[in-house]
Amino acid sequence: MKIGAIAGITFKEAKRDRVLYLLFFFAALGIVASRVLAVLTVGDRIKIIKDVGLASISVFGVLMAILIGTGLVYKEIDKKTIYTLLAKPLHRSEFILGKFLGLVLTLLVMTAAMAVIFLAIVYAHTARVEGSLLVAVAYIFLELILITAVAVLFSSFSTPILSSLFALAFYLIGHLSWGLELIIKKMRPGTGKALVRALYLVLPDLENFNFKTEVVHGLPIPPAIYLSSFLYGVCYTAFILGLAVLIFRRRDFI
């Protein structure tokens, strides 16, 4: 209940944030502008529209998660409202989870709105609702949940600017960590290879949530990856939130 209350307040608070609407405006602009880009191409216009649309949902969703998420906990500490909250019978873990769920709810609404605009644009070109695109959107949302957890983690002990940089770094690492696999293949067996292999397993692999290429080109997606990617996202989010709670519990605000 307490988590729900905090989440509700966080959702209301996020709704009033002008940054959210600014980012939503640019995301919608990006999706609509894909029509203009499609005019400039020769050949498969709908592919350009799908690519740009999905990229807009992903990029602006991540910006929403980072820019709003990194200020969530910090603002409460900075404005000293945290004293009022923690003086009540409220666990710090409930506070963190409430904040996280509130932002996840906000992102769910925003992602759904962006997806509706995106599907409408695609419908205007193909005259059919392409449900398969929702698979890519759903996994983008799963990625956003993880990024939100990361933003909340950094927000629990750092300033918004640093937290944004850290979260952005997490996002970039997450999309580039697959390159380690190539290095592992080229390394000779030994300690170095084992270390890189360990790093590869521990670092986030956000490509697990990237089904954009498959969906746009209508490639088959192995059913096994749906579940493993979903569980991977859940585990990583749980781990990051666990860390956030652990750190936040030990923080001294005086």
Partner: protein, 302 residues
């Protein structure tokens, strides 16, 4: 019994650590499990979205050199991974980006051309893929041409292009063109002139070849170069004489229905004015059974 605050905090911390451990183990296990699932890839999809170097120059925010370094390092890894079947689809595009980002970055020109030639040879020898061979050889020339255009002071690019034309393509006029271009660049080594003369010989222009080798012989700065030029002059003259004698022997057979018994027979019947001798003044060897003529010694063992 009501638990004390410290005990509650202790059990909560324990629970939290258990969550962290379980989720950490889950991350590693699921990562490995997800990696095992083979996802369908679009041919060339890994690099198809890389924009042109012209655009990247602006997108690199002034770090063009660094961007070129990064793409070059990546390209080396990418093209040395045979498991990527479609890696050669956009070969020239990738190296064009590097060249565009940093036109004075020398290694990508040479290494790019080298990879293209190696892969082209593999395509021909292993897969008998003539189309891929041609496309990669074209890419090698395109890369080296860009190197030459962006670095007019570097003789190595037309030299490499000439070498590819000579050795891999057997396109002797093209090889001659590149070697001639190379010779004009200050610092080009002397042997390029000799390679050009050899290309002229191989394309069949024996007269120009003779003149070129003679010029090299006359201007030779040392005995070694003089000897090399002399051997080639010997070879060019022998080739001219051989063609003349074998042609005359063929005409002799057309008229008399048999090959001449010796080369003097060609003089006696008016096909030639005199029997030529090699550059050392020695007679050529004639085989009356086949009508073929050869030198008494190899031009390279004189």
């Amino acid at each position: 019994m009501v638990k004390s605050g410290a005990a509650k905090r202790g059990s909560a911390t324990g629970l939290l650590l258990a969550v962290l451990l379980a989720s950490g183990a889950g991350i590693v296990t699921l990562k490995a499990a997800t990696d095992r699932v083979v996802r369908k890839k679009l041919p060339g999809s890994s690099i198809i979205y890389i924009p042109s170097g012209k655009f990247l120059k602006y997108a690199a925010f002034g770090y063009r050199g660094l961007a070129a370094d990064a793409i070059y390092i990546w390209a080396i890894q990418y093209y040395s991974t045979p498991a990527i079947d479609d890696r050669l689809d956009h070969f020239d595009h990738i190296f064009a980006i590097i060249n565009e980002l940093d036109p004075r970055f020398q290694d990508p020109y040479e290494v790019g051309a080298m990879i293209a030639v190696q892969e082209a040879r593999d395509a021909l020898e292993r897969a008998r893929d003539q189309a891929l061979f041609s496309s990669l050889i074209r890419a090698a020339f395109a890369i080296l041409d860009r190197g030459a255009a962006n670095n007019p002071d570097q003789w190595v690019y037309p030299f490499d292009a000439g070498h590819i034309a000579l050795m891999n393509l057997k396109d002797y006029p093209l090889a001659e063109k590149y070697f001639a271009q190379c010779m004009k660049i200050p610092g080009a080594p002397d042997f390029v002139e000799r390679l050009r003369a050899n290309a002229i010989f191989k394309k069949g222009d024996l007269k120009t070849s003779w003149e070129t080798w003679l010029d090299i012989y006359k201007r030779a700065p040392d005995e070694r170069t003089k000897k090399i030029a002399s051997n080639h002059l010997y070879n060019v003259k022998a080739t001219i004489d051989k063609e003349g004698l074998e042609g005359s022997a063929a005409k002799f057979r057309e008229r008399f229905g048999r090959l001449p018994a010796d080369l003097e027979a060609l003089v006696r019947t008016g096909f030639i004015r005199e029997v030529p001798r090699d550059l050392d003044g020695k007679d050529y060897l004639y085989d009356p059974a086949t009508g073929k003529v050869k030198t008494v010694i190899s031009p390279w063992r004189r």
